[in-house]
């Protein structure tokens, strides 16, 4: 039986998520044994032409060229999976969506006239049909292997949609907003990281974006009233890696 062809694509991103695939170490040989890594410039300059059975897409759409490229990638892909906060929500670069991008280019580049960029940074799913969104900044490599494994074995992926709190509770972490007054986005954030920050006594940064039914408004109201969070802090915690994902987008904007 022919091995499924896998392609990895990059849009506006830091490369961290696609490097999670190379970071698989123990599982890397098994991945390479199970799929044909046909197009992955970060790993090999040998590129096999499409179409591809699975495309992993990293990064957000930020240029006119990206707009064309994503449509072309969709056309040559069987399954299109977006990986990471940039691809699933627009990433940290979506902070431009709340400001004037021309001001940024003028401040950063000596010759801003050569910069061809869009006003906004947007998730892939705003432009083409996406079959699965794998969250995280960066993604969890074990979830990536699980996702590939579920595809290869034609089963549902075990990637739960619950809050980070569930991971904290299973690990036996005390709830730090309760026990030390930290501001923690865990209760409104999608699981997947294994409650990394709360396990080190630091409030959740919300790297995996909003969970389903995320009640950001209630969490912010409590933080303001009981944990004495000021509006600038609240704006900053919600307008972070997943700033463009609702309801983090609206909640951050409501604090000044």
């Amino acid at each position: 039986m022919r091995k499924p062809k896998l392609a990895v694509w990059k849009f506006a991103s830091c490369d961290g998520c696609q490097l999670s695939l190379l970071d698989c170490e123990d599982e890397l040989l098994a991945v390479a044994g199970a799929v044909e890594i046909a197009n992955f410039p970060e790993a090999s300059s040998a590129v096999v032409e499409g179409p591809y059975d699975v495309s992993l897409v990293e990064g957000s759409v930020t240029t006119p060229h990206d707009l064309e490229r994503i449509v072309d990638i969709r056309a040559q892909s069987g399954l299109l999976i977006t990986i990471g906060a940039c691809a699933t929500s627009g990433g940290i670069q979506a902070l431009r969506n709340f400001a004037d991008v021309r001001e940024f280019t003028r401040a950063v580049y000596a010759s801003p006239e050569f910069i061809s960029t869009l006003e906004t940074s947007t998730p892939i799913a705003e432009h083409v049909k996406v079959d699965f969104e794998l969250r995280g900044c960066p993604i969890n490599k074990y979830q990536l292997v699980e996702l590939i494994g579920s595809f290869l074995n034609r089963r549902r992926a075990n990637i739960p949609h619950h809050s980070v709190c569930v991971e904290c509770k299973r690990k036996g972490n005390p709830c730090i907003p309760v026990s030390n007054g930290s501001i923690c986005l865990g209760p409104v954030t999608h699981s997947g990281c294994g409650a990394l920050c709360p396990s080190y006594n630091r409030g959740c940064f919300g790297c995996y974006g909003p969970k389903e039914l995320a009640n950001a408004e209630s969490l912010a109201a409590w933080a303001k009233q009981e944990l004495e969070a000021d509006p600038a802090t609240l704006k900053r915690v919600f307008h972070n890696f997943n700033a463009w994902a609702s309801p983090f987008k609206e909640e951050g904007s409501s604090h000044g």
Binding site: E27, V31, G33, N158, S163, V178, S179, L213, A221, W222
Partner: protein
Amino acid sequence: MFSMGRRDKAVTSHKFKDRIPGFVTEEGTKIDTRTFSLRGLDQLIQTLLDHGYQCIGPVVRDGVIAYDKVSSTADLPQGWTDEQSPGHYRLRKREDDACFGFVVGPHSWKRFLYPPERRLWQLQKQGQSFVRVGEPEVAPRYAFLGVKACELAAIGIQDQVLKDGPVPDPDYTQRRDNALIIAVNCTESAETCFCASMKTGPEAAGGFDLVLTEILEPKHAFVAQAGSERGREILDALQTAEASESQIESARAGIASAADGQTRTVDTDGLRELIERASESIHWGEIEERCLSCANCTLSCPTCFCSDVEDSTDLTGEHAERWRRWDSCFNRGFSFVAGGEIRHSTASRYRQWMTHKLSTWHDQFGSSGCVGCGRCITWCPVGIDITEEIQQFRLRDQL
């Protein structure tokens, strides 16, 4: 997974009455009550270890009082207490050297009896079929030191669900049968405690092997009674003296002050029916405005027992595993059935939780599912208070 049939059996052996239980029998005869010092407590822990138990008790860890391995009294939270209110917990220094001068921490004993994650089996492909691989796990032998009355009641409720029901969970049953329970009566309450309302505490009334009451007057000591043959053997192995009248009086006074000190109450009269009538109340929607559907309440609750069973394969498909993990009715996937999930709103999930806990639990298991430990109040990140919500349903019911 569990039968919804009505069960009329009383759920626990706890019968809290308006007497001073524990120190005299119902007939008025004095129960053999022993006493030992802090050094005696060390001897008790050593005896447990010598008997091959893993001793689990309260320890200070990560800014809370958690349950973990204990090898001497030096591991206990001596001189510490917990300050609790809705959405708030802080460790505080005590002015005395009490070892059990706290209420309950974020974890309950269910972590040890019903672990949060457990591999149920693994299979390996051999030829065209799968064979089971791996050695079956041997259940640990725990001695739990410092089980409070509300926790005992919770263990009694989980026994009903996981051990004494029509389909016993083999791992739970084995862990539970192995476990030795040393209860400690509460001599003070937190702001979030309401065990007196739920009739589960503050005094342990049964279901233990040994019960201790820590007294600070006339001097720091423990007053002990056996609750089983195993407990009697352990107690007999220690150097103890007969407890004096003044020590017993001091223990009684401590327990009475814990009961008197509870500021939260729940009127349980007709509560089951009240929640049943409230199924279409607009108040569920008002709770939804605050509730995060994060699942903290259910996972902190010592009686919540829901779990998910997850099957997975490796990349080759030649190795498969089945894991059980704690789940919650606040999670989307929890209500997944053929065709999709059925509880899409936070209001519907909160209603499910509270209705099960306070109303349909009676139908299913013959008791309330709430023991009044207050964890769901303290550990709710936005301080939702179940006793306050009950009061709101009462007020609306009277309109």
